[in-house]
Amino acid sequence: MNQFLLIIVPLVGAALAAAWPSNRTRPWFLPVFGLLHVVLTFWLFINPPVVAPEAWLGFDPLARAVLPAVSLLFLICAAYGVSYLRIRSERPNRVFVALLLAILGLLSAGHQARHLGLLWIATEAVTLAAVPLLHFNATPRAFEATWKYLLVGGTGIALSLLGSFCLGYASLHGGGVGDLTFTALTAQGAGLSRPWVLTAWVLLLVGYGTKMGLAPMHTWKPDAYGEAPSIVGAILAGGVTTVAFTAILRVRSVVGAAGEGHIADRTLLLIGLFSMLVAALFLLGTRDFKRMLAYSSVEHMGILSIGAALGGAGVAAALFHVWSNGLTKGALFLSAGNIRRAAGSPSMDDVRGMSLLTPRSAAIFVTGMFAVTALPPFGPFFSELQVIRAALAAGQGVATAMFLGCLLLAFFGLTRVVFGIVDGRPRPTTRANAQRFVETAGVIVPPLVLLGLSLWLGLFTPAILREAWAAAATQLFPAP
């Protein structure tokens, strides 16, 4: 029952927010329902329910390993959202608040979906619900970003549906009776028709990979993250991409059961390394600090994909990275939002000396940048270290070297942009604009909390989390 509440509670919140008359008080729906969701999620996390194998939806080990991170990120972004929407009180926020809550409910459905069709429906619904959020600013640039998001994302979603059909046909051809739960598909194992499984794998990897933002299907990401409000960027980067990643993990376990796991691993490793390389090269070129965050997100999706290619230990490391990347990236997005608002431009051609104008946001931004490029005490360092250890244990020496090389290039790219906007003397126009922006507690505390969580995750990774990641890896790769 509780697993359904995770979906129903935010959707009820969305309906109430849509009906609520006051533009001024409506944003409070976000933290209230976010908090309810966090309480429910962590209650389920500590008392994991027994999921029936044939259930279409359930709080299974994989959902348990990922959903709490998404829920926590949403709550903190929601708290930031209250202050953000107060600053933006000139714009109606009915659709914005309602759809953000709806996305939380749909993400809960997507993470818990144990059925191929249900998983697709949840992902499709999240994609559509995000569309109005992207053009919240209603500028021509935002329209352009939304159009590209729809075309690329829509095509990706269409291909993942085709992939789902192919996997369904693989089951039918192998004598299945049309049961498309992942449990049934895995149980059918070698009975699945091989050519259809491989076709399905390619289509599903491309389809859900588009949603996740793996190169070369990442092209919607810089535009969308660059033009959307930073709170939307944080939730897209930490929540929506995660549901696509768990989808790929679930499909990967079916492909593994069908006996084609080595091909799946090889493609995941290649596409992961390619994403890291593309992201690192674009990071060296971009001059926009919000687009920079998008390329950094592409890079980290590459890391997740590489982790997923490395068997049980790699998957556990990748799930760790889902947490550390989501929370750290959230801090970066929110502080970048503050800087963007104060500076009036996202380009390092116009913005300089933000450490003088917005000292707190700039400090969080710089610290967050070091955290996300794997400076030791923070979460990403430890999760990436685990990925590297899994890679070396799997004998992937060359891949590890490329991985480290890309990390170094990305570090150069990120520091170039971040210090470009933080250092120096501010321009007079920027200075005038920044006087209208006040660094209140409402916009500083949420990113600071996210940064703190990232540090806590690195220094004191709780045993219960490690156990949850290991349990999810066991669910996907049952010991032979």
């Binding site: 069709g117 249900l118 697709w120 429906i121 499709e124 619904a125 559509l128 569309v131 053009h135 021509p140 640039r141 329209f143 352009e144 970003a145 939304t146 159009w147 590209k148 729809l150 075309l151 829509g154 095509t155 979603i157 269409a158 549906l161 085709l162 059909f165 192919c166 369904g168 046909y169 039918l172 051809h173 299945g176 009776v177 049309g178 498309l180 028709s193 050519p195 259809w196 076709t199 810089p222 535009d223 660059g226 033009e227 674009f282 070129g285 971009t286 687009r291």
Partner: protein, 215 residues
């Protein structure tokens, strides 16, 4: 199983793909697309006419109304609002698109041979039809500059996926079927709204003007 009639309809749908690729006027592109939608709606009735139940009828009706009437109507409205009638200067012009489409159709038939099919599907053109429509959709998506043409391309891509889904209509539960239709419709609905908005922002539905955001 009236396999002959089914194959005839799939063949006609494949012909409409080529018509869509070759037409420069938007009304004829939309007409080709909506006719294809109606053909697609008839197919489940033909496939399941011996064991006809309300689910199949509902899928068929929803497809015919959605793909054949509602969506083309929406697109025509968007077209009038934007005051454009033809596609001028596409990225891939019409004769090369047609050649690509024809080549793709032949390749689709060849490719479909490589995939194993159940005996009851072996005689149908469902898989080649699906692959050909998906390719057509991609050519239109990539090769056309006007937003409405791109939406038509996306719909033909969806039609191809629907054709493939017909292989599973006997075995998949209702949820998948209804979810697909609902989402496709909603997706296009949203796209329609966006087209409307883009038009207001740019005064033309030319996606070539969407080039501010780049590296």
């Amino acid at each position: 199983m009236s396999g002959g009639t089914l194959n005839l309809l799939i063949g006609l749908a494949m012909g409409l793909n080529l018509l869509a690729l070759g037409s420069s006027r938007l009304p004829s592109l939309i007409r080709a697309m909506s006719l294809q939608g109606v053909f697609l709606g008839v197919m489940p009735l033909l496939m399941e006419y011996e064991t006809l139940n309300w689910r199949v009828v509902a899928v068929a009706l929803a497809t015919m109304v959605g793909k054949g009437v509602l969506i083309p109507g929406l697109l025509r409205r968007a077209m009038r609002a934007a005051n454009i009638e033809r596609e001028i200067e596409p990225f891939i012009s019409f004769v090369p698109s047609l050649l690509l489409g024809a080549g793709g159709t032949i390749a689709a038939v060849a490719l479909a041979r490589a995939l194993p099919l159940l005996p009851e599907h072996a005689g149908t053109l469902l898989v080649p039809g699906a692959i050909a429509s998906i390719l057509t959709g991609f050519i239109l998506l990539i090769g056309r500059a006007k937003a409405i043409s791109q939406v038509c391309g996306y719909l033909i891509l969806e039609n191809g996926i629907y054709l493939f889904g017909l292989l599973l209509i006997h075995s998949t539960p209702l949820l998948v079927e209804s979810g697909i239709l609902l989402d496709v419709t909603v997706g296009v609905f949203v796209i329609g709204i966006i087209v409307d908005r883009i038009q207001r922002a740019f005064d033309s539905l030319d996606t070539r003007k969407l080039t501010t955001l780049r590296e």
